[in-house]
């Protein structure tokens, strides 16, 4: 079975994001970029399934500018067998990303596609579910445990009410939650080896995609800030302040 893991290049989660001067985007110049943390988990899960002998090949797929090759190289260094970059510089909504991924799936015929539950830049949490819908296959979102049994997968999902287990027929789409696994660190020799692995670059325009209208995102603004409040010295003082503010 082939597995596809999706990899998005995003601003590193440690960076304090700044809005640009025109208020129509965020500052990316000189800012550290990384693989979306949930996608590292997706790649790691694919690797573990390969190591268990469940999967035969792990393909990392990214959609983005040519810089996204860096994140695909990281996936290759982690252990992915090959990578595909669908080069696209135009703005992309999840519906568009899902259509692109569907084209890759039609070509590669994977048994499992693993995505992050959300990209931490736009925080949309949509692409995996949309892909599953377009593909007409099951989805198991927010996975914290995954077990493949022949033609089926059993997936434990982190939902608001607790832990839900569902069974899905393969092929299927799984999206990762943080506790699915802990991604491995990349070692220097692996980075060297990754340079020799195949990374195919395909132009999005060559994929015969449906035309999808775009949405206009504007007025980037900081959230209302919470001012730092006061510090109290004792529990008695805390109670007094809470009384004055009508909290108790």
């Amino acid at each position: 079975m082939k597995i596809i893991a999706c990899v998005k290049r995003v601003i590193d989660y440690n960076v304090r994001v700044q809005i640009n001067r025109d208020g129509d985007g965020v500052v990316t110049d000189g800012v550290k970029m990384s693989m979306n943390p949930f996608d590292e988990i997706a790649v790691e899960e694919g690797l573990r399934l390969k190591e268990k002998g469940v999967a035969t090949e792990l393909i990392a797929v990214s959609i983005g500018g040519s810089e996204s090759q860096q994140q695909l190289r990281t996936a290759l260094a982690m252990g992915a067998d090959r990578a595909i970059l669908v080069e696209n510089d135009a703005p992309l909504i999840p519906l568009g990303a899902a259509h692109i991924l569907l084209r890759i799936i039609e070509k590669e015929q994977p048994g499992l596609v693993i995505l992050g539950k959300q990209a931490i830049d736009d925080d949309r949490n949509q692409t995996g579910q949309m892909l599953a819908a377009l593909w007409g296959r099951p989805q198991a979102t927010f996975a914290s445990a995954l077990e493949i049994n022949g033609e089926k997968a059993s997936v434990t999902r982190e939902i608001d009410a607790g832990m839900e287990t569902i069974e899905v027929d393969l092929p299927a789409v799984v999206t990762t939650d943080l506790r699915l696994n802990e991604p491995r660190f990349v070692k220097m020799p692996d980075i060297m080896k990754a340079k020799r692995k195949t990374l195919d670059v395909i132009a999005a325009a060559s994929l015969d995609l449906p035309s999808i209208p775009n949405v206009v995102t504007s007025n980037f603004s900081p959230p209302p800030t919470r001012e730092a409040g006061i510090k109290v010295e004792s529990v008695e003082q805390l109670v007094d302040v809470m009384k004055t503010r009508g909290l108790i």
């Binding site: 949490n125 927010f142 409040g229 006061i230």
Partner: protein, 313 residues
């Protein structure tokens, strides 16, 4: 007839409060129809029909809907969507799972985590873990799917008279490739984290699963719900459904008491809408103090029992 359809979240017996919160967020768009997918949704429909601002309640009863799996519910939404220009659900794990599947079947865009619906084409939502708010204009689509950020809205209250409940059938091919196996819920007497007026939360500073008793004790004294940071959940101190933050629950209690939580942005984004944030941390430089309304520098094991004694109901 309303042009907005809200998909109810419920557990088969009761309407989840997230539905009433989403309804409030949709008020600028006019009256809202609510749709209930259930095995037998009569009780849930009655609750939904009582809320102010509801046009009608569509009751879709079927054994297929007993677990409301996204793969099963999404085609039913797509089949019934024609008259609506906005299809919304709460931005809980229920809505986040279902909404994009419905949107893709309809071939339309989804706006996630709407914190303000200006009109049926213009919305405000947070990105980058709530560090940036943007305006999204979806005029290019004739229809849109939304998930509503429940923490941004108070729950809608009961109206003067109940909306009509309309038994509804959908004609959609439902897949059998996805099957519910089980739900392991933490049996808890405490108020639900997402609806509680007060929440007490512990972080890595609590140190162990046993020590979390300190957090539970304080919560019980105050009649509060219980939350946690990701670090506490990852370390196994408490169950994952207690996680608050960017990738956990986004909550808006009247009072949030954080103990042994440093205040990482991913955590803060989950509590920005809280009325009053109280922080207990032994490190006076902890970033949580930059957002806390009231802070106490000190040891949580010393302070928690004393706070409980002083405020206990």
């Amino acid at each position: 007839m309303s042009t907005t359809l809200l998909v109810a979240e419920h557990d088969g017996a009761q309407l989840n409060q997230s539905t009433a919160r989403a309804l409030t967020g949709l008020a600028p768009l006019g009256d809202v129809d609510i749709i209930v997918f259930a095995e037998n949704g009569s009780a849930v429909c009655a609750e939904a029909a009582a809320l102010a601002g509801v046009g009608q309640v569509l009751q879709v009863d079927s054994p297929d809907n007993s677990h409301q799996l996204a793969a099963v519910v999404a085609p039913q939404i797509a089949a019934i969507a024609a008259p609506y220009s906005v299809i919304a659900m709460p931005s809980t794990t229920f809505g986040k799972d279902l909404a994009p599947r419905a949107a893709a079947l309809l071939g339309v865009h989804q706006v996630s985590d709407v914190m303000e619906a200006i009109d049926a084409k213009n919305f405000r939502r947070p990105i980058y873990a709530g560090n940036v708010i943007v305006h999204e204009n979806v005029e290019a689509f004739d229809k849109v799917v939304l998930t509503m950020r429940t923490a941004s809205f108070q729950a809608a209250v009961a109206g003067s008279d109940a909306a009509p409940i309309v038994p509804t059938e959908t004609t959609a091919d439902l897949p059998d490739h996805t099957r519910f196996v089980k739900l392991e819920a933490q049996a808890s007497e405490r108020p639900d984290l997402q609806g509680a007026a007060w929440v007490v939360a512990g972080g890595r500073g609590v140190g162990s699963e046993e020590n979390f008793a300190v957090i539970y004790d304080l919560a019980d004294k105050l009649g509060a719900g219980c939350g946690a940071s990701r670090a506490a959940v990852d370390a196994g101190y408490c169950p994952n459904d207690m996680q608050v933050g960017q990738t956990g629950k986004i909550i808006a209690p009247d009072v949030y008491i954080a103990l042994g939580i440093s205040g990482a942005i991913q955590h803060i984004t989950g509590i920005k809408d809280a009325g009053t944030i109280i922080a207990v941390n032994k490190d006076e430089e902890a970033p949580i103090f930059d957002v806390a309304d009231i802070g106490i520098v000190g040891d949580l094991f010393d302070l928690a029992p004393r706070i409980g004694a002083a405020l206990g109901k």
